[in-house]
Structures are given as C-alpha cells and as structure tokens.
C-alpha cells in the first residue's frame, strides 16, 4: 500500500530581487532537502516558526508552487515537472484550507458559487446545476451553516463562519487529502475549538489524509498522529506526536516546547523565566 503523500529531497530556492548591479542576490533557501511520507488516513502535523519553510512545503505539496529539485508524489502520482493542465487529478484529490478566510474567499462571489466552484472546474459529479445545488446545501449543513447562507457574501459572516465556508469548499470535490495551513490561527479561542472539532470530525468520518501546518504546538498535538518539526527549511525532528512532545530529542524541539506558555506549568508556579529556560 502506497503512502498518500511522498516528499523526496525537496528543495525550493527563491530569487530575491537584485540589490546590487554587479552581482545577483543570493537565493533564499526556503526548503532545503526535506523527505517524509504521510500514510493514507494519517493526520500529519508540520510545526515551526515563521520562516521555517512549513508553508512553502505545503504549497509545494498542493502543487501551488514547483520545487527547485526533488520529487513529490500525491496518491502515487508524481506531481513535479507536470504542466498546470495535467495537474487536474491533484486538484480533485487534494484541497487546501488557508489561514485567512477573508483572503481566500472571493468577496464578490456568493457562498453558493464559492462552494460550487471546485465542482464546476472539475466537471464530474457537479456537472449539472441541480447536482451542484444539492451538494452545496449538503455541505452547508455538514459544516453547521444555515441554508440561507448560500445566498450571502463572505463579508456577511464572522471569521469562524468564513472558515466553515472554506472547509465546505475544500470538501466539495470529495478529496482524499486535506491540507490545512494555520486554519485556526486567526480565530478566537471559543471559535477555534469549534473549527478544530469540525476538521477532526470530517477527517475521521471521510477517512481523509490530513496535513496540518501550524506554529501552535498545542493545536498540532491535539490534532495530529505524527509531527515534523521544521526550522530554517529543514525537518529537525519527526515522530509520533506523543513521543516528540513527551521526549523531544532535538535541542530546537526542546526549546520550542519549553517556550510555549502552558496553563499547567503556569498554575504550578512556572513564570516567564521557565519559558526561556532560566530554570524555575
């Protein structure tokens, strides 16, 4: 049985604009030779701070960007080096939920058209207007929004509701893989729990493979089976979530876990000195 996502020695360099007339700028090495596999139905977390390359990696896996070198397989198919028009199978198998729902939902489209758009683009199940309408209503109900929501525009919803719309759109073409890029970072605490529950529920019910990118260690711990810790374009530690969190091996993982404020440690009397590793 093949893995859902295979990442092999993936490298992504970006060119910066020239700063000098005499020599080219040095490239930014966003991802420097990363390899891992995500099994079918697995919930895989990528954690790291800003600039660690976690979002770049997610974009590469989603075929939204091309690696400088290395290969990526999605459901057994190589997605590197293909033309955009040959990437249709990725678009139907794999869907993305982004951090900022306002930025990822077209403000001039009604929610009905936003959710139906992947169906229109793929001309499969949603080839007739009636079939699409039925699917949109089914999805709205699944993500906990009223039917009337279909006629409204994104700005008429709160942040949490917009993220529900993004999730409905992602699920529309019945993908097997869901990529989530900081899906709850912009949400309030009480809404964050609702959206996290929704994502875990769908992943479980539909047997999806989840790739979850976040800077928030506690969210990844709650959501994922396995986790890769990234820093400066490299994976520094990878393993089952419980193992990585309870017994981190790499000094950076240890530092990251120590630095995250924890209610438990704080109530035991741990102050800010403990976060920076100054002892208790």
């Amino acid at each position: 049985m093949s893995a859902s996502i295979v990442v092999q020695d993936v490298v992504r360099h970006y060119r910066r604009p020239r700063a000098s007339l005499l020599r080219p700028s040095p490239p930014v090495e966003a991802v420097k030779g990363v390899s891992f596999e995500v099994a079918r139905g697995e919930r895989f977390g990528l954690v790291g701070e800003s600039g660690s390359g976690k979002s770049t990696l997610l974009r590469l896996i989603g075929a939204l960007d091309r690696p400088t070198s290395g290969q990526i397989f999605v459901e057994g198919m190589d997605i590197t080096g293909r033309r955009e028009r040959d990437l249709g199978f990725v678009r139907s198998q794999l869907q993305v939920v982004f951090q900022d729902p306002m930025g990822s939902l077209d403000p001039r489209m009604r929610v009905r058209d936003i959710i139906a758009e992947p169906l229109v683009a793929q001309a499969g199940e949603g080839s007739t207007r009636d079939a699409r309408e039925a699917r949109v209503l089914e999805l709205l109900e699944a993500v906990g929004l009223p039917r009337e929501a279909a006629d409204r525009f994104p700005h008429q919803f709160s942040g949490g509701q917009r993220q529900r719309i993004s999730i409905a759109r992602a699920l529309a073409p019945r993908p097997t893989i869901l990529l989530a890029d900081e899906p709850v970072s912009a949400l309030d605490v009480s809404v964050r729990a609702q959206v996290l529950n929704l994502i875990t529920e769908f992943v479980e019910e539909l047997g999806l493979t989840l790739l979850f990118v976040s800077h928030d260690l506690s969210v990844v711990r709650h959501t994922c089976d396995r986790v890769a810790v990234m820093r400066a374009g490299e994976v520094v530690e990878l393993g089952p979530t419980a193992q990585v969190y309870d017994d981190p091996q790499h000094p950076y993982t240890q530092q990251l876990l120590r630095a995250a404020p924890s209610m438990r440690r704080a109530l035991r009397g741990g102050g800010t000195a403990e976060l920076v590793g100054g002892g208790s």
Binding site: E49, V189, S190, N197, V219, S262, M263, G271
Partner: protein, 335 residues
C-alpha cells in the same frame, strides 16, 4: 459596589464605573477595577469584548466621538483621566503610565532612528516632577543602557538603526525600552507578543516581567491567550460584552471558574487536557457584534445554563470588585 477594603495601600490604577459609548453603541459598561502597586493584572477576553478599548481609556486615548463616563485615576496624577485635556494627558503618558502595543512597526516611527525614539521619551518628560533636567550625553548613555537592558545586541550601534532594519522581536524590545524609559508606575500591554514567534514571545514576556519587577511597576496585561496570562499575571479580569464578568487570583479563576463564560473559555482553550483527536468542549455560537449583546447577562444567548432569571442584569457576587463574578448560575454550585 464599593471599593472599600480592596487593596490596602492606594492603588496605582483605580477605575470606577467606567462606561464608554460610540454613537448608539455602549461598548464598555460600568467597569470597576483596581491595579495595586507592583501588581500584574491580566485582562482577558475574545475580540469584541472591549479589552483593548479599556486599555485605551486608561491612557486617555479613546477615539474621536467616544463618550466616556465614570472615573480613571492614576497614582501620582492629580486629575481624572476621563475628560482630561490632551495637554494634561501628554505629560502623563510615557511618564506615569506607558503602553506596549501589539504591532511594533506601527508603534515606532519609521523615519527616526530607534535610539532617538527612546531618547525622545526621556527628553519630553525631562525636568518635570521627579525627572532631572536634560543632559544630552547622559540621555545618550541612558538610551544605550535601556537598549542593553531589553537584551538587544550591540546597543550602541543598534541605537542608530531604523525600525525596518530590525526583526519583529527586536522592534518589540525597542518598544518595551521606550515604555520603561521613565520607570512608569503602570505599564499597559495590549497583546504585546501576539505577532511574535513562540521562542521570541518567551524572551519578550520574560523581559517585560523582569522590567516591571525591577522598577516595582504595576502592569495591566491584555490578551486573549489564557496560558500567557497564567504565566505572566497574578490576578485576572475576564471581560465579555464590555463588562467584567469575573475577577480574582489567576490560580483560583483558572482552576475553579465561577462564571459560565470563564468556564467555557477555559474548556475551549484546554488543548493540553483534552484527549488527542477527541472533540474539544466548545462555547456555542460566536461573539456578537458591538451593540448586539443581549440585555441582562451579556452571555446568556450562548450559555447552556441560562434561564429566565438571566434576563435581568446579574449582580456582582461580592463586595470586592477585584474578586467575584456576575453570574446567577455559577459553575461549582451556588456559593
């Protein structure tokens, strides 16, 4: 509600019956709280709860068109902040009370060297009250010392840098240096580390706490992040719908919450205690927009325990505004 027997020595900040409205919307409703000398108090709530507006009211920075009633008194300031003139407040801000905002890039002037911005704060208040007069060389020395205290490398050279040349964490350190430059009695922090990475956040939080401890300054710390408040503060005020719904020591409020909103907030944010992969407890619905909060208990439209009684404003549970809750059906049973 009285403030009798609250904090024995006179508090650094005393807010009494503060209400703020803009247009037809009542945004803050009858807030009463104090911050004692050297005390670190957290103000928590979700977006739209009025916590940032409260911090602006404390500094007299309310937007145009906002009407404030009640009183805000600061130690060492003879006038009330509510209704004070801009001229009067200008000598208070950055001196008796100062603020660290969320976004260091907007708090700093992009066209001025960071050292000059720290110096400006010192010079503006020099010669006033307890401050010595300005001596350029001494000020320059003090600026470098301050930048060094906030853990910036090579402070003498860094003082000549512009904000865009620094990283987000370094910028926030500069903002903290400016805020602490005149040893304020009260430091107000509004989500100071929300925009920062977790390892940088740890360092900046530690620096802020060490900074206020060294000066015996008090701190009002505003955030939506409960673990951060638990780590930084001693006492906490929980806001929802422009009201303080619960107040008390951190250890008590976070382990035995009384108000149903506090209880829900703790449940929803408790990712450490939840079984991995299992559903988290949630608060139904979302925070209503300003002006759409219900009459009576502001939380009753989202509360699983609400009854007809909750249509009337719930009374505060004790005589001490710094310790109690406003809930008719508190968690953990009637007292």
């Amino acid at each position: 509600m009285t403030t009798a027997a609250a904090v024995a020595p006179s508090p650094v900040l005393e807010v009494r019956g503060l209400s703020v409205s803009i247009g037809r919307h009542d945004l803050l409703h009858d807030l009463t709280f104090t911050v004692g000398r050297g005390e670190r108090v957290g103000l928590i709530g979700e977006s739209g709860s009025g916590k940032s507006l409260t911090s602006l009211a404390v500094l007299g920075l309310l937007p145009e068109g906002a009407r404030a009633t009640g009183s805000v008194r600061l130690a060492g300031v003879t006038h009330d902040v509510v209704g004070a003139s801009e001229r009067a407040m200008a000598s208070v801000r950055g001196n008796d009370v100062s603020m660290v905002f969320q976004e260091p890039m907007t708090a700093l002037n992009p066209t001025m060297r960071v050292g000059a911005q720290v110096a400006e704060t010192i010079l503006v208040h020099a010669g006033r009250g307890k401050r010595p007069g300005a001596d350029r060389a001494a000020v320059r020395q003090r600026v470098v010392a301050l930048l060094d205290q906030v853990g910036l490398p090579a402070p003498a050279e860094l003082a000549r840098a512009y904000p865009h040349q620094l990283s987000g964490g370094q910028r926030q350190r500069v903002v903290v240096a400016i805020a602490l430059a005149n040893d304020p009695e009260l430091l107000v922090c509004d989500e100071p580390t929300t925009a920062l990475d977790v390892t940088v956040q740890a360092k900046v939080l530690d620096l802020i706490v060490r900074g206020v401890e060294a000066r015996r300054s008090a701190m009002l710390f505003i955030t939506h992040d409960l673990p951060v408040v638990a780590t930084v503060c001693e006492r906490v005020l929980v806001m929802y719908g422009g009201r303080i719904v619960e107040a008390g020591p951190v250890a008590e409020v976070f382990t035995r919450p009384r108000h149903r909103y506090t209880e829900g907030l703790l449940g929803a944010s408790d990712l450490e205690g939840a079984r991995p992969g299992k559903p988290l407890t949630t608060i139904p619905g979302t925070v209503p927009p300003a002006g759409a909060f219900p009459e009576g208990c502001v939380f009753r439209t989202r509360c699983r325990h609400a009854t007809a009684e909750c249509a009337a404003p719930p009374p505060w549970s004790s005589a001490d505004p710094g310790h109690g809750h406003a809930c008719v059906h508190p968690a953990g049973g009637e007292r």
